[in-house]
Amino acid sequence: MENIIELQGVNKSFNGFKLQDFTISVKRGFVTGFIGGNGVGKSTTIKLIMNLLQPDSGTVSIFGLDYKNHEKEIKQRIGFVFDENILYENVTLNEMKRIIKPAYKNWDDALFNQYVKKFELPLNKNIKNFSKGMMMKASLTIALSHHAELIIMDEPTSGLDPIFRRELLELLHELMQNGEKTIFFSTHITTDLDRIADYITFIHNGEHIFTKEYYKIEEEYAIVKGETNLLDRDTEREFIAIRKSNYGFEALTGNKQRTEEVFGDAAILEKPTLEDIMLYTKRGKDKYVESHS
């Protein structure tokens, strides 16, 4: 399978934040959800992918091309949505379109109008009077009107009401039906991903934890619950992180099969949510840092 985005051994540090030897890839033709807590490097990664930041070292390649020699070519083929409004506020959507349209060779007015109609966007109202949802729809309309192969979105669902979030996800789903599109988007509303993500890329503190097919996560990871007396130095090593209480323990394992073999019927294994995985991974990493410093 072909990679549409590849970051190889990327290092980037600024303002006390660091991406270290960061390597990720995104597969062409799929939806990849990009998850991680606040301030772990999601936006930085997206900015590196968009060439808004340049890596200190390492390589970034999009469509197999590098930014140094093919910047405009790459950006012609990307549609982008950011979590903040990046459109001018004192112009109408129609004027904004006229500003952006000449930048793209493949701009399609018919497609633009189709989305404007679909989202019920006013063409002659100043963008500053748009609601948060409408601004998001406007950005999305612009991102989708030039037949981009790759759609990159930074927290597109944050601050949106549940109904529009659902609509957005349905729209993305539709987009994936017809053709060779790839969607890469970051979110911390992990339930959004249940509906559409094929792959999950998880990062924590500037470090790539995993990229996996969604269904495989359920096969590999499990929440384990049992009596505290099951835990000892050896069994504790099976887990990414453990939470103990008076009633027993709850822990996350990244090797479900092995855990099943070790504990048998003594412990209960449950399907983890992405949030469980994020939470326990964070705890596991913090503890690891503690015990090694």
Binding site: F14, K72, R98, I100, A103, Y104
Partner: protein
């Protein structure tokens, strides 16, 4: 890059039309054309510049298929376009109101001052922010007044004299030297701005 310049003009269309009125008023009352030209050029150019200073517009234009070089260059070329527009308007206005042509030297002189200003203001604003430029100018203005009041009471007259002498030089070689050196400064500033802007983090 032409798209970006066209965008700046489109966005400032309203401001430009509104500014026509005071421009003609100034001309009508016979203020110095050099002074009006410099003032209007700088005001319009810096307004266009500050519009795109917000990090959101930087995000937008850097994500569109433009390079940082093109974004900076569009501002430098755009500044020349705006200067041309303003000077052409003043020229026409003067022709209509006073039925007289403005000397080429006066136009060149105005252009040189505007370009010198931009050569300083753009890299400064890319490095910090055009708001600091206002502060810097407020400080300079105060300093200027202190100097005028305390040391050289006739500074204004001296400057006026200097400008008059410069304009009355009948030496085209001298003009050529001035214009070429202003152009050189402008180009150096342009390159410097590209360097500063390409290292910027949004």
């Amino acid at each position: 890059m032409l798209n970006l310049i066209r965008k700046d003009i489109a966005l400032q269309k309203k401001t430009l039309i509104i500014l026509l009125l005071p421009l003609f008023a100034y001309l009508f009352f016979g203020s110095s054309t050099i002074w009006i030209g410099v003032l209007f050029c700088i005001a319009i150019i810096m307004q266009g510049f500050s519009m795109d200073e917000k990090s959101s517009s930087n995000l937008l234009f850097n994500s569109l298929p433009y390079t940082r070089k093109e974004i900076v260059s569009s501002k430098y070329v755009g500044a020349c376009v705006f200067t041309f527009l303003v000077l052409a308007t003043i020229f026409m206005g003067n022709l209509i109101i006073h039925k007289e042509m403005i000397q080429l030297e006066q136009l060149l002189f105005t252009m040189s001052i505007v370009m010198l200003f931009i050569s300083f203001a753009f890299p400064f604003s890319y490095l910090l922010n055009s708001q600091y430029l206002m502060i810097a100018f407020a400080v300079l203005f105060v300093l200027y007044f202190i100097i005028v009041n305390m040391f050289i009471p006739n500074l204004n007259d001296r400057i006026r004299e200097l400008v008059q002498t410069a304009l009355s030089f009948d030496n085209s070689l001298l003009y050529l030297i001035v214009v070429v050196s202003v152009l050189l400064i402008y180009i150096v500033s342009w390159m410097l701005s590209i360097r500063i802007y390409s290292k910027k983090v949004f």
